[in-house]
Subunit: 214 residues, 2 copies
């Protein structure tokens, strides 16, 4: 498999973790989101990914986009080490946590949105940081509330084994730290992040460990 990735992209980070958790080797192809006006906008990459976003996974002659669709695909084609629990209710819980991050936090703070705030709406750097912090704090407060209050929460978001929820949470915690969000307000999320970051599948997927990290 080949993964089109950028070290700092939360969405690519998710797929790197998922591939690692499942023990699936892959060849990275680096798409720099800032250099050359954004390599994701090149004609060649747009053929693979019309939305001009990372990641894209190539599996043989199959082209796959959208990080969570890729993770579900990996789950269905390589079920041996599962990213989702077995009961529909637990699966819905894990997916709700994953989507709470992937829909309601991350896209609002994405590079292209921050660029639009600067370039089109003349929003200052301080107000842009305030914007990012606002959506992260709002999402994390809800998530902390959900996870701290649920008996299913363990070392990970569900029990003691990483799931799709942790696959999404850990990149978002990295992103929160970039925006100087104080994680002390979210002790359960911080505890889970610390645990997961100690696991090789997560630590080797981290932005700073990628060959394309500047």
């Amino acid at each position: 498999m080949e993964l089109y990735t950028y070290f700092r992209s939360s969405a690519a980070f998710r797929v790197r973790i998922a591939l690692n958790l499942k023990g699936l080797p892959y060849t990275p192809q680096f798409i720099h989101l800032l250099n050359h006006g954004g390599e994701q906008h090149s004609v060649a990459y747009k053929q693979l990914n019309p939305a001009e976003l990372v990641p894209t996974l190539i599996d043989g002659n199959r082209i796959l986009t959208q990080s969570l669709a890729i993770c579900e695909y990996l789950e269905e084609t390589h079920p041996e080490i599962p990213l989702l629990p077995s009961s529909p209710l637990d699966r819905a819980w894990v997916r709700a946590i994953a989507l709470g991050i992937a829909c309601d936090i991350h896209p609002i703070n994405n590079l292209r949105v921050l660029q639009y705030l600067s370039n089109e709406l003349a929003v200052t750097d301080d107000a842009k940081t305030g914007w990012a912090q606002h959506w992260i704090k709002l999402g994390f407060a809800a998530l902390e509330n959900q996870l701290a209050g649920d008996a299913r929460t363990g070392l990970c978001c569900l029990g003691n084994t990483p799931t799709l929820a942790d696959v999404c949470l850990i990149p978002q915690v990295f992103n929160a730290q970039r925006f100087q969000v104080d994680m002390d307000a979210y002790p359960t999320l911080q505890r889970i992040a610390t645990h997961c970051q100690s696991l090789p599948a997560f630590s080797t997927a981290a932005p700073a460990q990628q060959p394309d990290a500047a």
Copy 2:
């Protein structure tokens, strides 16, 4: 089942369609997102949905949040009329279309984001409409490109039977029309939307048909 819904919410609209497609009856509970400072922020509703967003589905004593997690749950618990095709590659394609809308278009144009633009960043109404149009057009251009260029596209996003992709597309087309996006630029999306809107599962789920429509 009980569905906490708001007529104009795209996310609630998705679940209304999914329930209708599967022929599952439900009792609506109305959460007005503007009245009383936003009923989604009430203490009682926050108990069900800590993110203070609609929809929430109650199935017996189970509380389910996040529209796509709810749809996947319905798919697993009521598989008779499927929302997803059978092959992993087609499933990934359908989920990528759904997530391209649910992650990369809708959350950026959500009510709470538009409110933040006005209230915190003093963005004018015109610039706010421009913002919404920008993200819808960007997402729809990519989606049109994907669907027009793929042999699997039929009356619906995949073949001739509605899937999770259409469940997400049709509410987003409604939303685009609210923001005066010219759908002529997206003939494939418009054609699929016109077809789906002729089906009772979609038409009875439409915002104007809901008892809480003002």
